[in-house]
Amino acid sequence: MLKILKYSFYDLLRSRWSYVYFIFYLFLGFVLLFLNNDMNKAVITLMNIIIVLTPLIGTIFGVMYYYNSKEFTELLLAQPIKRSKIFIGQYLGISLSLTLSLVLGLGIPFMIYGLSKSTAIFDFSLLILVGSFLNFIFVALAYNIALSTENKIKGFGYAILLWLFLAVIYDGLFMISLITFNEYPLDKFSLFATMFNPIDLSRILILLKLDISVLLGYTGAVFKDFFGTKTGSFLSFLVLCLWVILPLARMKMKLRKKDF
């Protein structure tokens, strides 16, 4: 598995897309800091970008890599290697290379602008951590989609739909249901619903750090327990891990019956 990981990783490190992605983040980091010169504001803007863009890029990258390396995968499948190891290896290769692009692409400009001396370093680290999680989650989801869909165009379609659903539509439905059932106690429901969407979950994790002042403005006791103590962060991280593990587990299941 480590060998596959290594090769996928090297392969991706040399691919044009990794550079595009890396340069995009580099550019974004510099532009943000140049325009604002205010680390805190840059961190907030960055959060909006990370929770929307990382999943999108993760899904597209995952699906694209799967379909593009299909023949190569077949070559690997004919080698004496366990199936699941091939795919987990590839998965880790993609996720790691995306994460590396993210960390370096954003890390470099922020370092140059004196992040290490700034108080924003914790916010920034959290942002990068959450971004990495999102990479791992969405590449896993993308691999699930690709494994279940033979047709490349359909696979891409589903991947984009999944992203659109989790990034926008889910929240829309969520808000509508909250407004509709206004009279009922909804705090448990809303926390619960947040857990079912990795994007929302990541957003909440960052909000716990950046906007704790506003989150504590809400009256519900459940909210207060969740946001006001360490429970919130702890639970969120736990569920984020589940969001990586569960798609991987499904991937393994799927691989047992999959024909190539």
Binding site: S15, F72, L77, P80, D259
Partner: protein, 236 residues
């Protein structure tokens, strides 16, 4: 060597293999070259992929050297496979790919002779994405033949090869056969089959329709030419 019993495979509603039974090289017999033929969609590739463990059959058993291979993976260490379309990671160089495959198999490899044979020396440091189809196929052949395994499966090995490379390939195959290897080939080039194959396995509708030597086939169909003999088989 290979024993397949009652193999069934459906893709959705489409039945591809329908109770296929096949025995190739039972224990004790010499190696040989087996051409797996059949019209498009007759299940050739599916059969090969079942052998490789890439397609999982709905029913039936496959054993190689008396051991069941379903859901196993280590048997592939004694099996070389040449895939049909040689599409490699575009960003790796030829030598990296060769080293990688070597790295993935715990077996000793003899790639240098093959590299010289196909004249790949000058391409070793080129990216795979920049190679022509023929060169890629040569790389593909190197990857397949550099290991010493008892079973060799070649899926359309002649694709894109120039006449010289084709001659080299034929020599290679004959050499392997002489070492007592079992070689399965699928191809649509009948002259190649005519020249190389010891036996023909003809698939139709997911079953073995004919199995025997080229001469036997010609005799049975009453056709002097292999292409016509095959056409005759299909039209019946």
């Amino acid at each position: 060597m290979i024993e397949i019993k009652n193999l069934h495979k459906k893709f959705g509603k489409l039945t591809v293999l329908d109770g296929l039974d096949l025995t190739i090289n039972p224990e004790g017999s010499e190696g040989g070259i087996f051409a797996i033929l059949g019209p498009n969609g007759s299940g050739k590739t599916t059969l090969i992929k079942c052998l490789l463990g890439m397609v999982i059959p709905n029913k039936g058993t496959i054993s190689i050297a008396k051991k069941s291979v379903l859901k196993k993976w280590d048997y592939r260490n004694n099996l070389n496979y040449l895939p049909q379309i040689a599409n490699f990671p575009a960003n790796l160089s030829v030598i990296e790919l060769i080293n990688m495959v070597k790295n993935l198999r715990p077996k000793e490899a003899h790639e240098q002779n093959l590299i010289d044979l196909f004249g790949l020396q000058e391409f070793l440091n080129k990216k795979l994405g920049n190679l022509s189809g023929g060169t890629k196929q040569k790389v593909n052949l190197v990857l397949t033949f550099m290991f010493d395994s008892d079973l060799i499966i070649l899926d359309e090995p002649t694709t894109g090869l120039d006449p010289i490379a084709l001659i080299h390939l034929k020599e290679l195959i004959v050499k392997e056969k002489e070492k007592g290897k079992t070689i399965l080939i699928t191809t649509h080039i009948m002259s190649f089959v005519d020249e190389m194959a010891d036996e023909i396995v003809f698939l139709l509708d997911g079953k073995i329709y004919f199995k025997g030597s080229v001469a036997k086939l010609k005799q049975q169909t009453n056709q002097p030419n292999l292409e016509h003999a095959i056409a005759n088989l299909i039209s019946k």
